[in-house]
């Protein structure tokens, strides 16, 4: 599903450069649910951005679903992002002037689907996250948990191969966090591959595998017994 070999990335800071990723090797199979952990500055967000094609590595190899991701033009990156990836952000990143349904329909618009089709699909996915009745509401009228569900529905809408979540529960209280995790686990049960960046142990333990980063290298990569989130809900 996803293979990364000897990935390096540095950022220029003034006239020096900061070496953020120092040779990362990582492989994720289909159907996995991986937590990427690390303190701030460990390079976990940078890694996720590279995987999400929002940023490009300086060195190393990155193959997604058999396609080498290298020297992408903006246009190609846009197509790959749309086709392969679904994003879930800490701050939801919904477009405020669009309704929940319109937000979910946006990736479908960029796929070039017809309006009617977009409408049907987006409503279907909203139904799936349990927000069918909130379709016509704007993000400002939704709670944090609801916003994240809309964001998840949006990430799912394009039917991506890989779901990338950057601190998906970072802005939510514990109960809502578990609620969202339960939902993500359910998606994983249905066969979706998930990559979740977090710094919370309890969230990480709800995944099936934990990759720990420190100072730009992988310290630990272990499979764990998944803690089901439902029991806390």
């Amino acid at each position: 599903m996803l293979t990364i070999n000897k990935l390096h990335k540095s950022y220029p800071i003034g006239d020096r450069s900061l070496h953020v990723l120092k040779g990362i090797d990582l492989s994720v199979k289909e159907g996995e649910m991986v937590a990427i952990m690390g303190s701030s500055g460990s390079g976990k967000s940078t890694l996720l951005n590279i995987i999400g094609m929002l940023d490009e590595a300086d060195e190393g190899e990155y193959i997604l679903d058999g396609v080498p991701i290298k020297n992408l033009t903006e246009k190609k990156a846009a197509i790959y992002r749309n086709k392969f990836l679904g994003f879930i952000f800490q701050s939801f990143n919904l477009i405020n002037f669009k309704t929940a349904q319109e937000n979910v329909a946006l990736p479908l618009y960029y796929q070039g689907l017809k309006r009617k089709e977009r409408q049907e699909k987006s409503l279907f996915h909203l139904e799936k996250v349990g927000l069918r009745d909130w379709a016509e509401h704007h993000p400002s009228e939704l709670s944090g948990g609801q916003k994240q569900r809309v964001a998840i529905a949006r990430a799912l809408a394009a039917n991506p191969k890989l779901l990338l979540a950057d601190e998906p529960t970072g802005a939510l209280d514990t109960k809502t966090s578990y609620d969202i995790m339960a939902f993500l686990q359910q998606l994983n049960d249905e066969g979706k591959t998930l990559l979740i960046v977090t710094h919370e142990e309890d969230i990480a333990n709800m995944c099936k595998r934990i990759v720990r980063l420190k100072d730009g290298v992988i310290m630990e990569d272990v499979k764990v017994d998944q803690v089901r989130a439902e029991q806390y809900v």
């Binding site: 999400g52 903006e74 246009k75 846009a78 197509i79 749309n82 994003f87 990143n93 796929q111």
Partner: protein
């Protein structure tokens, strides 16, 4: 290709971000409003200017005579110079194609009456060419013609106000006007842009006047226009040549300023031409200045808009928007707002000018207005301006890295 979804996105964006759209629209509308008003005022000024000089053909030369002030060739000073028909013929024949129109003039004052109405008027006895020299416009009937001259017919052409004064509400054409006891047939009624005085004149054939008022061949003044293809220097030289030839003809000293006076309108025309030219440049500078200020304004707003939308555009990119679609939505939105707001500003400007028009006449501003061509031109300029103003920020927006845009701050 018409992409209805793209337009839907754009309209939603404009509609849902009303403050932003109105703000940028307001700037554009205001710039164009100023542009239209300034342009209109400048135009009005130019109109006033042009009008002040339209009454007479501006390639005219007026020739008058007087008394000599210097003794010359054994002739004493104080001799009266009197133009006659032969002088008119001389100018007409000798200068050939250089003369466009030429006419003699005899001035008389008469008491004219019709039935019980009676008043004093100035009479000008003229040749047919006089009509073009004075830019006289016929309202009814005809002007003096060559047959009248040849036959010394007792006909007159009267001004619109003479008809109003004496004939009240009836028509004067074909009726007989009593002038100092002699009946003249009215063959035409004219109007003139030169003002009320010009419309209280009575024209008659020069030959008739000579027969009736003295039975001689004297004329008071000769007016002519030179070939309009002459440039300024040629026109001046032509005026000087006439002056010189006439002085020789009447044995007048070269430096005698009174005996023969040649007034050449070319001298004034040049000043008017320069003034109009300067005014035109001022108009252009004002127009371009305002437009450029407007474009800079739109540019600034577009930069602000792109900054304001950074996050939204980042989200769109993360969801698979191509750089091109980002440029499209920014650019089309920019053009749309500019075009609509610009047009509104233009209409408002034209409206303000229309409302203020009566008041402005006092300040020498006549018919302040912007032409249709200008409106179309300005609209196209606006759309282009919106495009240019929107393009760079849009291009910049399309290069926004989603991670930068989505960074939590």
């Amino acid at each position: 290709m018409f992409d209805i979804d793209l337009w839907r996105e754009i309209f939603q964006s404009i509609n849902k971000n009303r403050t932003r759209s109105l703000l940028s629209g307001f700037t554009v509308a205001f710039a164009i409003l100023l542009f239209a008003i300034l342009f209109g005022l400048a135009n009005g000024l130019q109109n006033t200017f042009a009008e002040a000089f339209v009454d007479d053909a501006n390639n005219s030369i007026f020739i008058n005579s007087g008394n000599t002030t210097k003794a010359h060739k054994g002739l004493q000073a104080g001799r009266r110079i009197q133009f006659k028909n032969e002088d008119y013929e001389y100018l007409k024949e000798d200068f050939g194609d250089d003369v466009q129109y030429i006419t003699s003039r005899i001035y008389r004052n008469v008491t004219a009456s019709f039935r019980n109405e009676k008043d004093n008027y100035s009479v000008r006895a003229v040749h047919p060419d006089h009509q073009y020299l004075e830019k006289t416009m016929m309202k009814e009937g005809r002007y003096i013609n060559q047959l009248d001259i040849d036959n010394e017919t007792k006909v007159v052409v009267i001004g619109r106000l003479v008809e109003e004064d004496l004939f009240l509400k009836t028509t004067a054409l074909g009726k007989y006007l009593n002038m100092n006891g002699i009946q003249f047939k009215i063959v035409g009624i004219f109007t003139d842009d030169g003002g009320d005085n010009e419309e209280r004149l009575i024209y008659m054939p020069v030959s008739t006047a000579q027969r009736i008022y003295g039975n001689n061949d004297y004329i008071d003044q000769i007016n002519l226009t030179y070939n309009p293809e002459m440039d300024f220097d040629q026109a001046l030289a032509f005026g000087n040549l006439i002056n010189k030839k006439l002085k020789e003809r009447f044995d007048v000293a070269d430096n005698d300023q009174r005996a023969i006076r040649v007034r050449n309108m070319a001298e004034g025309t040049k000043a008017v031409g320069q003034m109009t030219f300067a005014l035109g440049i001022i108009i252009l500078v004002i127009g371009f200045g305002t437009l450029i200020a407007g474009i800079v304004g739109i540019s600034n707003i577009m930069i602000f808009i792109v900054k304001d939308r950074t996050k939204e555009l980042g989200i769109r990119k993360a969801l698979g928007a191509s750089p091109r679609s980002i440029v499209s939505i920014i650019l089309i939105e920019s053009i749309l707002i500019t075009a609509i707001a610009g047009y509104v500003g233009l209409l408002m400007g034209v409206g303000v000018l229309k409302l203020a028009e009566p008041m402005l006449e006092t300040y020498f501003i006549k018919d302040p207005g912007v032409s249709t061509t200008l409106i179309i031109g300005a609209t196209i300029t606006l759309v282009l301006a919106g495009g240019i103003a929107g393009y760079l920020p849009a291009k910049k927006a399309s290069r926004i890295k989603p991670i930068v845009a989505l960074r939590d701050d």
